[in-house]
């Protein structure tokens, strides 16, 4: 039922936004995190990196973000080679990474503040995105006054406010409680459908990956290689409860679990 695309890059479904070629990463001390990874991330889609814990998913994401250098190979975004962080990419952090001394408004506007956008303009933009993520009324609150889920909404609004074409999300919902996480996943689907942005999403939850992804890249245990690419054949326009009961959803979850099981023990 699922189209299991051939190993490695596979045929590009859409125009690739992020291209990874022959990427390897060896940490000082000799730990080999990634080994010769070649991947395309199609434009306007959400691609998930999924694999056993400690397999280097986050390492791959941070290399794409330009936060850590690759040992070999290269990454290009929109055809341009990545040499460091850039305005066309925005990162959403697992632990939110909010400034504890700044209000929600300033946190959301922080990316624009760093770019030198004028105060009036950046705050107007920030207010729009605060409303978009459902935090209207909390503009003047401080992070420690918010719940985990609300803090991650601030992190998401900050990434949206800089209007990057590529959103890099590093286990964004893992520090959030289960109910909030489900709501987040539904909101994320709407965001992917409505924005036309390219999403790179890291998670260790199989259900989450199948629920939100257009494309799932399974990584093997360290040193990571691409072991399989799966495109869940689930109609995305169904209501959330129908998706979770759709046979394609259930089958894909099971199939991925069978594939990952061999990496345990």
């Amino acid at each position: 039922m699922n189209r299991v695309v051939a190993l490695r890059a596979g045929p590009a479904v859409a125009e690739p936004m992020v291209e990874v070629r022959g990427l390897s990463k060896v940490y000082p001390g000799g730990v080999e995190a990634l080994s010769d990874i070649t991947l395309n991330f199609p434009k306007g889609k959400l691609t998930t990196l999924l694999g056993p814990s400690g397999c280097g998913k986050t390492t791959l994401l941070k290399i794409v973000a330009g936060l850590i250098p690759a040992s070999a190979g290269e990454v290009s975004v929109g055809g341009r080679k990545v040499t460091g962080p850039g305005p066309e990419r925005a990162f959403v952090f697992q632990d939110f990474a909010l400034l504890p001394w700044a209000t929600v408004l300033r946190n959301v506007a922080f990316g624009l503040e760093l770019r030198g956008t004028g105060r009036w303009e950046r705050e107007a933009t920030a207010r729009r995105h605060i409303e978009e993520v459902g935090l209207k009324g909390f503009e003047d609150a401080y992070p420690h006054q918010l719940s985990g889920g609300m803090r991650q909404r601030v992190g998401l609004a900050r990434a949206l406010a800089v209007d990057a074409e590529v959103l890099l999300m590093d286990e964004p919902f893992s520090a959030v409680d289960e109910q909030t996480r489900r709501k987040f996943q539904e909101d994320l689907l709407a965001l992917v459908a409505g924005k036309g942005k390219t999403f790179l999403f890291v998670t260790h939850s199989i259900e989450e990956a199948v629920y939100v992804s257009n494309r799932i890249v399974l990584l093997s245990r360290r040193p990571s290689r691409v072991s399989e690419i799966i495109e869940p054949d689930i109609p995305r326009d169904l209501p959330p409860d129908r998706i979770r009961r759709h046979s394609a959803y259930i089958d894909t979850v099971e199939e991925i679990w069978q594939g990952l099981k061999r990496y345990l023990e």
């Binding site: 973000a65 936060l67 504890p100 001394w101 760093l114």
Partner: protein, 251 residues
Amino acid sequence: MTLFGLRVPMVASLVLWAALWEVVGQAGATILIPPLSHVLVRLVEIVPTESFAEALGLTARAFVLGTGIAVLAGVPLGVLMGRWEPADRLMLPWVNVFVSAPLSALVPVIMALFGFGELTIVLTVVLFAIWIIVLDARAGARAVSPSLSEMAQSYGAGPLQAFAKVYLRAALPEILAGIRLGLVRAVKGVIIGQLLVSVVGFGHMFEIYSSNFLMEHMWALLLVLFALAFAIDGVFARLEKRVEYYAAARQ
């Protein structure tokens, strides 16, 4: 505190020691310890004099200037060391040496280089105060969570922006703790500097009093200086408490 079933207030010990001092003084055991009551009379006598006001002015000026320089140079240096390995490698051995070295021994060197004036005293204050400020700012900068610095980087902050907008603020609790310790050391510096230079300020007054065996005057002056140091520390401790709330909320 309770003693033999009776509640004894905290000031009781102070009163006890003061009484002991008075008794020893009145007994005339040694010329070095005059009775406390006589000292207090001298204190009231000395404080309104012009030479006292002049010495206090000079001390305050040297203290403010010296700590100002120590803070303005020490905090950025400490944060730089905390965030940039080469700077840390280069400076840390020196900072560690100076933070525990007997700095009074260096004052004559400063004196030889910069003469017997106010400049020497200001530099002594800097010398005493700066190292602990550097060390604490460094510790604060190192404690900034990695994801916060990655966040700054990924949203395009250059090194200067990251310093001004993230590291400095994130390290503020440690920086303030360092400044407070630095202030205490600065008080030592400003007094020791004057004692060694001994031709200006309180140092000059001490010199006159001790060479003329004016023990009552000397003790009075000491009491004033102790009280000043205590007050400065107390004021800053209060200031620090007001910032502590977000050190806890930082995680």
